[in-house]
Amino acid sequence: MPSKNSINRPHHTTTVNHKIRSLAKKRDARERAGLLQPARSDARSKSGEIRSIPIDLYKGEHGSHGPITTKTLSKKRAKKIERNLKYAEQRKLLVDVQKKAEDSMEIDRVKSVEKRAGETTALSRVKAAIFQVLDDSTNTGLVLENGNGTTLGGPFFP
């Protein structure tokens, strides 16, 4: 086999093919390991959207890969995100309301109590469920009204 520095050997094609193959292998391995982001055309892709690690953490989308991490969400950031999401919701609502007000001919619009946008995250659902239990006043103990209670022991020192 002629050497690497020889003239007659088809350097270019072989090298390029080799490179293509090795890159493809690595890419496939990464894809299998789930390290690649989905394609631009894919529904899950986040191309064009804002890339923000704290927001991902807040939403819970950042998959934890083990005990240690460098992607953090500070409390300040978390409060800001919460606030901004609220404002974003309000803005959307505002836009809707404005649009409706513009287009429609209604004079007195009854403001309906908007149901809060569905709690998407598991955390918020858990919190909602527990709040519901706390607010539920009917859920008391099993005190039997006509029960005698329980007595243990007697008038002696055991």
Binding site: A78, A129, F131, G149, L152
Partner: protein, 596 residues
């Protein structure tokens, strides 16, 4: 030491040595006798000092020392040259009211305690009593102690009430009246839960006798069943099971003494933690929370070390039942959790803050470190000679087993002197994690809205390395993403709750090891002789309409039935003068559950 044990040795140590045989049963029985006698002794001392008004009132630190000396003296006459290791498995601890566990002070710490806790409010009554050292009427006092012979451990924990005393017609001292209120609820719940679990485990020896209301489809006693039963009883008495309660299988040298330190392989038991309270709250909600209940298992732990409820109770195993109940009456709905007591005074200005140092230490063999101080090296060799169970510094002194019949002030002085020199060494040992102190826990109720309104987004990643939690339970509230450090910081909003605790060791014997030939449950510690309930009245009771409660009643009936019911045998305490060869009195009695 970071050593590895060969596979064959592991087999022998973990499996072969735990096979229940006559010799093993004998060791358990002897250990049980000593424990029962010691419990009777300490309870007798408390009765004498606080109920009889005869002698002076013995303070808590002296009670602990006397209890330990008694156990050590008793042990000396048992299995003298036949067994390599025997000793105290659980130092005598006297926990009052809201102190859940770990209060076993050394005798020279009292001044320090009183000095640093001068302004402790009465709302934290248990802390107040512990600092003063003297008990007051109305206190819920828990005595815990344990002994092991050749690694076969027996532990007991019993709660008793201190009463104001009056004399009745017969000129005897009697309690003025039953204890009422939330403490009584907790007491009743703990006692009844203990008896029920004992009967349940007795059914495991003869699974056919399990009432159908309890077992459902499968005819064996599983962890789920135990948890459900105890939770039902707790709910009926308007109490909550305090995290740290467990019903677990114990083996030779692995009796739960180093639970948060060593991730024990083959952990088999039901363990209550905050996450179970979280799950209960979710289940009570009307919303659909099925998928929310699932928790991602952490990848860090060995699977066999993580406790699950999917196990069956088999004959030939020894179990430790440790139930702690905290009453919820009169409190805002909150999470019952344990706060670790430490010695740092600057962390808050709360009036009910208890500042104390833990006094018993568990050796951790996984860390290896060359100590720099000579005293600490000597101390470490002394600790290693003691064994794998928790060690108090007073055990290492030569003056240690004090003569309990005649207190000798010179030996107390000798003990104090030795303790001073040991404290220097133990600080280096503790700083390098060669020995971990057994923490002092105070039970607190943290209102739910405080927890729900706090944000801890990376909570599922936070693990407190110093907290002694079982391997899979590092996160107290996994579904709410609250880490234990976050919970610690929220405890400033918490309120103390009193705790009633009952603990015992039982062995489920199959037919071939028992003299009578029938499978039975041996109550190594606890039972009617030493753990009789104090006089209390709770306004709650078990609801007979609930099928589970009906099953519980059936279980109680079975336990009383001597012919066809489940057989239980109790270990009797020794007679008072121990020089006589111990009577191995074990009479078959049935567990007594007094239910209105």
């Amino acid at each position: 030491m970071a050593l590895a044990i060969s596979h064959d040795d592991t087999q022998v140590l973990l499996h072969d040595k735990n096979v229940l045989e006559e010799s093993v049963l004998d060791k358990y029985r002897s250990a049980g006798q000593i424990t029962q006698t010691a419990l009777k002794f300490v309870a007798g001392l408390i009765n004498e000092s606080y109920h009889e008004k005869s002698s002076h009132r013995i303070p808590i630190h002296e009670l602990c020392l006397l209890g330990d000396s008694f156990m050590a003296t008793c042990l000396e006459s048992f299995y003298k040259n036949k067994v390599a290791e025997r000793g105290i498995a659980h130092p005598t601890s006297i926990d009052v009211d809201e102190i859940a566990s770990g209060w076993s002070p050394e005798i020279d710490e009292i001044e320090q305690l009183r000095a640093s806790n001068k302004s402790i409010s009465d709302s934290a009554s248990g802390s107040r009593r512990s600092v003063d050292g003297l008990l007051q009427p109305g206190d819920l006092v828990t005595i815990s102690l344990g002994v092991h012979i050749d690694g076969y451990t027996s532990q007991v924990s019993h709660t008793m009430v201190i009463y104001p005393v009056s004399t009745d017609e017969k000129e005897q001292n009697v309690p003025q009246g039953p204890l009422l209120g939330s403490k009584a609820d907790a007491y009743a719940a703990a006692h009844i839960a203990m008896e029920t679990v004992v009967s349940l485990l007795a059914c495991a020896a003869t699974p056919g006798k399990l009432p159908s209301a309890l077992s459902g489809s499968q005819q064996n006693v599983t962890g789920h069943l135990i948890r459900t039963v105890v939770d039902t009883i707790a709910r009926s008495y308007h109490c909550c099971v305090v995290p740290g309660s467990k019903v677990r299988r114990v083996r030779r040298f692995l009796a739960g003494q180093n639970e948060g330190v060593v991730a024990e392989r083959g952990f088999k038991g039901v363990s209550w933690s905050e996450s179970h309270q979280e799950a209960t709250m979710l289940q009570r909600s009307a919303q659909d929370t099925q998928e929310l209940l699932k928790v991602q298992p952490s990848k860090l732990n060995n699977e066999s070390a993580v406790p699950t409820d999917d196990f069956t109770v088999l004959p030939g195993e020894a179990y430790v039942i440790d139930i702690q109940m905290a009453p919820l009456e009169g409190l805002a709905p909150g999470l019952i959790t344990l706060e670790t007591v430490d010695n740092f005074s600057g962390k808050s200005h709360r009036s009910d803050q208890l500042l104390a140092k833990p006094c018993s230490y568990v050796r951790d063999f996984a860390h290896s470190y060359v100590l720099k101080l000579k005293t600490s090296r000597q101390l470490l060799t002394k600790i290693d000679r003691q064994g794998v169970y928790p060690v108090k510094l007073s055990y290492l002194s030569d003056a240690f087993p004090l003569d309990v019949t005649q207190p000798d002030p010179s030996s107390m002085e000798q003990l104090s002197k030795d303790l001073k020199s040991y404290r220097l060494g133990i600080s280096e040992i503790t700083n390098n994690y060669l020995a971990i102190p057994n923490p002092i826990y105070v039970a607190k109720s943290l209102p739910w809205d405080k927890i729900l309104n706090s944000a801890n987004p990376s909570g599922r990643l936070g693990i407190d390395a110093n907290a002694r939690s079982l391997p899979g339970q590092e996160l107290p509230l996994p579904r709410l993403n609250i880490s234990s450090l976050k919970l610690k910081s929220l405890l400033k909003h918490a309120v103390s709750v009193p705790v009633a605790r009952e603990s015992a060791t039982v062995i489920i014997c199959s037919g071939d090891v028992v003299s009578s030939g029938k499978p039975e449950l041996l109550r190594v510690t606890g039972g009617s002789k030493t753990c009789q309930p104090s006089w209390i009245h709770s306004k709650f009771q078990l609801d007979p309409n609930d099928p589970l409660v009906q099953g519980i009643f059936q279980l109680a009936e079975l336990a009383k039935d001597k012919r066809f019911g489940i057989a239980t045998r109790e270990t009797q305490p020794l007679k008072r003068n121990m020089q006589v060869t111990p009577t191995s009195g074990s009479q078959p009695t049935s567990a007594d559950v007094d239910m209105a």
